[in-house]
């Protein structure tokens, strides 16, 4: 048997600005442990993707989710993903594919070959699931290819895919002309998912419970949005570094009381900090927006590096996957059927910035969102990250910056280049040099303004 490569020297732990964010590590670990426990107890476990509308549905049926993207992120953060990426490469998956998928597929191939977990798996490992729930959205090819490819290693594990589109932004018609058939389709797809899950588990959906969880989710969305809006304060009490922790309850614990309570506590903490004029750092010089791209999970300490130069991140678009329900142009509370409610919430979330874009000639919803945040959060510059293995979220960054310059104003911007999980793409010296140069630009712009 081969001696597997030992993980690299333990990465520096990132300092958090909030106490709430510092608790996420333990919460995350407990979540993984609970999945391993559930496996032992014979509970039904599903491989799941984030932002697929099915949080409330699986929670209502007591299906235990294993978030494969999260597990790959953990391997990345621990700098112990290389051996799984290499294993996927050995299976003839191209190393240019989504590295979450390569990590997951490599792990699964290895686990199935051994008949047990690979040696020393991060946090106990990735369990063999009972089912895999993919999706065919306009978002992300891996969401409809990953589990299909995984079946090569676990051919007896059923896969179910749901279509989850949203209306594209076009000039020659308003999305409201098509939203009805989008919602109808999503409802049908979700209904199909419920039928599948009922068949797999032998349980019946408790529709009342589902309605409760839908309501809880609405309230959680509102709370998250309000909490993040608190970061508009000067100095800002919390940055994107912390948000890359607090995303855990947003995307992995939605529709649970735990997620709501977490944000209740975070909200209280931010209010306290604002009352005491406590910022992310004592001497806030530059306020930045993380304008796009998933972070490098193995290099979250770069946020501390930014901090050391006086830069803070009051706002980000990444993982801010909520809007306040009461800001939608329809009264969502009037939609009582839970599946329709979920579908409308989905469509309204993804089209939220369309009206704004129509009001500014030549603009686009993605850019309108940036502009709103730049103004609300008093932003001096934009940082984006281009992760080589993810076309979904990292194509169009250059275009957004170009368009922002064209329709709004020219702001200092920086695009970092690396990956989400594959640490071999990252060069710390190079990254920090780029950050230093960016800080110089910010300083130059600031002094000109004085």
């Amino acid at each position: 048997m081969t001696q597997e490569k030992k993980p690299e020297k333990k990465p520096e732990k990132r300092r958090t600005a909030t106490e709430a964010a510092s608790r996420i590590g333990a919460m995350s670990k407990a979540m993984i442990a609970s999945v391993l426990q559930a496996k032992e107890e014979g509970k039904p476990i599903a491989y799941t993707f984030i932002c697929c509308c099915y949080d409330e549905i699986i929670r209502a049926m007591d299906i235990v989710p294993h978030w494969v993207e999260n597990y790959a992120g953990i391997c990345g953060a621990k700098r112990d993903a290389q051996r799984f990426l290499e294993r996927a490469g050995a299976e003839n998956f191209s190393r240019s594919l989504c590295t979450y998928a390569l990590c997951g597929l490599g792990f699964d191939a290895w686990r199935e070959e051994l008949g047990e977990m690979p040696p020393n798996p991060p946090w106990g490992g990735q369990v063999r699931p009972n089912m895999m729930l993919g999706s065919g959205q306009i978002l992300c090819d891996p969401r409809n290819k990953w589990y299909q490819a995984a079946q090569h290693y676990v051919p007896d594990v059923p896969v179910y895919e749901i279509g989850l589109p949203w209306p594209p932004y076009e000039y020659d018609y308003d999305y409201r002309q098509v939203q009805d058939y989008y919602v109808k389709y999503i409802v049908e797809q979700l209904r199909g998912l419920v039928e599948f899950l009922e068949k797999q588990t032998g349980r019946k959906m408790d529709w009342d419970r589902l309605s409760e969880l839908v309501d809880l989710t609405d309230r959680t969305w509102n709370l998250i949005w309000e909490t993040y809006e608190l970061r508009r304060a000067v100095p800002s009490p919390m940055g994107t570094g912390d948000a890359m922790n607090t995303m855990v309850p947003i995307v992995f614990m939605m529709a649970t009381q735990q997620a709501y309570d977490f944000f209740r506590e975070l909200n209280d903490e931010l209010r306290r900090k604002i009352a005491n004029k406590e910022g992310e750092i004592p001497d806030e010089k530059y306020r930045l927006i993380w304008g796009g791209g998933l972070p490098s999970w193995f290099a979250l300490t770069d946020f501390n590096y930014f901090n050391s130069k006086g830069a803070v991140f009051p706002v980000e678009t990444t993982y801010r996957m909520v809007e306040a329900i009461y800001n939608f142009d329809i009264d969502l509370t009037k939609v009582t059927d839970p599946l329709e409610h979920i579908a409308w919430r989905w469509v309204k979330y993804w089209t939220y910035w369309y009206d704004k874009a129509r009001k500014r000639p030549g603009s686009h919803p993605d850019v309108e969102r940036l502009i709103q945040y730049i103004e609300d959060y008093k932003i001096d510059g934009i940082v984006m990250h281009e992760a080589f293995s993810c076309r979904t979220w990292h194509v169009g960054l250059i275009w957004q910056l170009n368009l922002l310059k064209k329709v709004y104003k020219n702001m200092p911007s920086l695009i970092l280049e690396s990956d989400i999980v594959d640490v071999s793409s990252y060069n710390e010296a190079d990254t920090r040099a780029r950050i230093d140069a960016f800080i110089d630009t910010l300083e130059a712009v600031k002094s000109k303004g004085r």
Binding site: K6, A90, N427
Partner: protein, 281 residues
């Protein structure tokens, strides 16, 4: 019947090898590849003939292989190094089922079955899985490439090299050396890094024992050991690992001549062998 001689010419990116064989090897020459492949091929062939005390007419068939195989004007046939290494290793080490060849600028893995290649995988794009990786990092460390293997044997705690990019790795090892890390430990780390790349490539073939190592990399004892650690078992290294391609080429020439004789086909031969004086012009 008069003994037939066969020649194999392997023009690699770094080294050029010629082998003349009948029942066994009668002469072999290894020299560094320069930019002028044609002239070099001629010169090395002349050298080998001199060593074997043969004239060019004594050679029944010449097969050229390697990166520069199209620049051997007196070759009767060009065959890729995949087939040649497979044939050469099958001859030298009949128990081998996988060949891993580590050259100066490329590396490859070949799956063997019944003495022939049945599958292969190559890396000729990224320097990090080839001899180049060691060449560049050795230079950065101020060490001769040929000493890398020997020096690494003294390692106590190998240093983890994070960069997979050759250029970044060169920077990294210089930094490690400046920080006071022992040279053997660093070199052992480099060997481990390149072994990881090579192992990763070879695994795409579902490696079967025995595994034979060829090419310049096989002469590096440190790299051989690092690969054995990855595989979890020892590898076979032929006595002169640089010659397997040329040996295989010569043998494939022999096979071709034998097959043609059996089926009564006349072989297409290189034009050049009919000309004498201008052959090595």
């Amino acid at each position: 019947m008069k003994s037939q001689y066969f020649a194999g010419v392997d023009i690699g990116s770094t080294m050029t090898k010629v082998v003349i064989m009948n029942q066994a090897i009668v002469a072999s020459v290894i020299g560094p590849t320069g930019p002028e492949h044609r002239k070099l091929a001629n010169r090395v062939m002349e050298e080998a003939l001199a060593k074997a005390k043969l004239s060019f007419d004594d050679i029944t068939y010449v097969v050229a292989t390697g990166y520069g195989r199209i620049n051997v004007p007196f070759a009767d046939k060009q065959i890729t190094e995949i087939s040649c290494h497979a044939r050469g290793v099958s001859y030298l080490l009949p128990e081998a089922r996988t060949v891993i060849d580590i050259g100066g600028q490329d590396s490859k893995a070949i799956k063997l079955s019944n003495g022939r290649a049945v599958d292969f995988v190559m890396n000729d794009k990224c320097a990090a899985g080839t001899g180049r990786f060691l060449e560049v990092t050795a230079e950065g460390l101020g060490v001769k490439l040929d000493d890398m293997g020997r020096l690494s044997l003294a390692a106590k705690n190998k240093v983890e090299i994070g960069s997979t990019c050759t250029v970044f790795a060169a920077q990294e090892v210089v930094a490690e050396l400046s920080a006071g890390m022992p040279l053997p430990d660093i070199i052992a780390g480099l060997h481990e890094a390149i072994a990881t790349r090579i192992y990763g490539m070879a695994r795409r073939l579902k490696i079967e024992r025995e595994v034979a190592l060829t090419g310049g990399g096989a002469k590096n004892i440190g790299l051989v050991k690092a690969l054995e650690v990855k595989l979890g078992y020892p590898v076979l290294v032929p006595p002169e690992p640089l010659l397997t391609g040329a040996i295989g080429a010569a043998l494939l020439g022999k096979d071709i001549v034998k097959k043609a004789a059996e089926s009564g086909i006349s072989l297409p031969r290189s034009e050049r062998r009919l000309r004498e004086a201008t052959l090595f012009g």
